[in-house]
Symmetry: C2
Subunit: 373 residues, 2 copies
Amino acid sequence: MAVTLHDVAREAGVSYATASRALNGSDRNVRQENAVRVQAAAARLGYVPHAPAQAIARGSTNTVALVVSDVDDPYFSMIAAGVIDAAEDAGLIVTMAVADRSPGLELQIVRTLRGHRPRAIVVAGSRIDGSGERASLVEELEAYRASGGRVSLISQPDLPFPTFAIDNTGGARRLALELAGLGYQRFAVVHGDDAIRASRDRRTAFADGLREAGLGLDPGCEIATDFSRSGGLAAAERLAELARAGVEAVFAVTDVMAIGAMSGLRAAGLRPGVDLALAGFDDIEAAGEVTPGLTSVRAPLREVGRRAVEAALSGAPAGVVDIPVEVVLRDSTPPRHRGADPPRTVVVNGATHLTARKGHDVAASSQAHGHVT
Amino acid sequence: MAVTLHDVAREAGVSYATASRALNGSDRNVRQENAVRVQAAAARLGYVPHAPAQAIARGSTNTVALVVSDVDDPYFSMIAAGVIDAAEDAGLIVTMAVADRSPGLELQIVRTLRGHRPRAIVVAGSRIDGSGERASLVEELEAYRASGGRVSLISQPDLPFPTFAIDNTGGARRLALELAGLGYQRFAVVHGDDAIRASRDRRTAFADGLREAGLGLDPGCEIATDFSRSGGLAAAERLAELARAGVEAVFAVTDVMAIGAMSGLRAAGLRPGVDLALAGFDDIEAAGEVTPGLTSVRAPLREVGRRAVEAALSGAPAGVVDIPVEVVLRDSTPPRHRGADPPRTVVVNGATHLTARKGHDVAASSQAHGHVT
DNA sequence: TTGAAAGCGCTACCAG
DNA sequence: CTGGTAGCGCTTTCAA
């Protein structure tokens, strides 16, 4: 049905082998004249090499597989963009699958993808704890690697593969310090299920940061909800109550949740940023576009995607690469001037001096390299 | 290096052929006992069938290829989400490539993809006119189809394949009528290069709608800029001038551009929705999240993605399926009450009665099925 | 129900 | 430099 190399060879009047060499041979051992002849024939016939056949003959494909939790989430689409960039640079095609935050599905997907024998598999998505599938996932990836495949992970910092870990802990902690520095004293946190590592890490690190700043976090102020926009929306009612009870600022563990909460607060008659300050995490594009601009913690997601495939392809050793993040202050957390209190100055680790600056759109705080955790 | 069917067969103590049948055979002609034996062996060895080999033996793969212009654009990520959904339902894996709005790259990508012999290729992305590559694209796609592949297109309504066309024309026109009905009289339009079909169609249809409502559009009020967020941002300065000169409302041909313009207007000291009304197109998620909510035209992108793969897989005939859109009025275009003028009532095609309703978040206008164009 | 063997389209090695 | 040809891993007749 389709045009095969055989047809091209015949059309060009050369042997099968010669045609192959002329078209894809790493050798240059083909007479100019024949090469041209073959290429012309291929073009005339609309021949495209059969990738699966090449894969089987060569023993390797030209694809990279990417597993994400959700496509329609800006967090993952930025990562995907980076992955696709890097793959393209390497002349590879990207195969993408969505695990929908289900460890079971994720496992199954990795199995399927492995069958396609990609050059590398990149798994992005927050680790779900406590699932029996975890061990199976590792096993699967290990088997893949054993058969010559390369693996790299984004944000699953406890598996035996090269891993790019967004610094959730450091980011959330520093965010807490920044907000404290801005004069906020009473906080609430909106988070997802603790089984979602990113959610738990950010939540606890934020609380730690608060403690470090000499502030507390009332247990009643930690609102568990769905790890999504609608979760944030649903939390709004409770937040409104808390605001009335004196809470001044909320940290939602993702921007998506924070933006949901923002809508909900408005619906409840509160003015985000005025009646209740709000901060998120990830610094997705929308964070800079909502009003008031959402204070957040930025991770270079696109770059992480790039680096993940580069690392995998280059056969990087297992180990965690901490991806530094930076706090981005926007109008949703205006400085809170209290006549009584003196302006706060926070000293971290007895060294880094965190100053809360504020710019029009993006005001990055102190650097976040390494283990500030 | 990797575990092969051969290994499994040996481990299970049966023949190669039997192992194959037990694992993937469409037949059920394997004794229960052997089947179990083989499956156990496969599990023990961590065997995964070699997809390229299966592809070559069977003559068909289990992938669907998707070509988009940009991943990191919500318009395309919604479509991608739909495509992935449908593919998953069909037990297929999605291969995704980004053409970056370059016809040349798109062509090259389709060629490469074709080599992978996917079951179907779905091409999304607004057609770029006037490029010589167009014919080549069609040729490539045609060759692919000739070799048994299925093709479907999203929003490229003039190629000989099953196509899902967002009703840009009808949507923009109806948006114009709605805005006129709201009392706006002086407009500006922010658009991209006319070579981008979606941009041109929306722009001209909007002008047509205005004309239909008895309003004009000053040529000086059509601002050509980059077909992106930053393009919208860049147009803001000009928009501010126009607003001062009496322009009341702006239509940006995409939400992404409109949101960029919104930021820019704010920076210029104007209040979007108050000093200048603003409307976009696509109804991406962010449209409902910015403040004021952005009036837009909604297309069921995710569903379109689903349908595109379903159509391709089921071998739908060439032809255009018009995807109806609906106008979504939000706070960025508040009704404009003018003491003098009587409330407008617009009659379309002498039949449909368009009423501008306004809800909290989503107020859909009259239906948009078929050829209202 | 099973095993043997013929391909699938291509690459790469081995002689010429 | 070129043509034969042996695989690559799997599916699928064809006999047994």
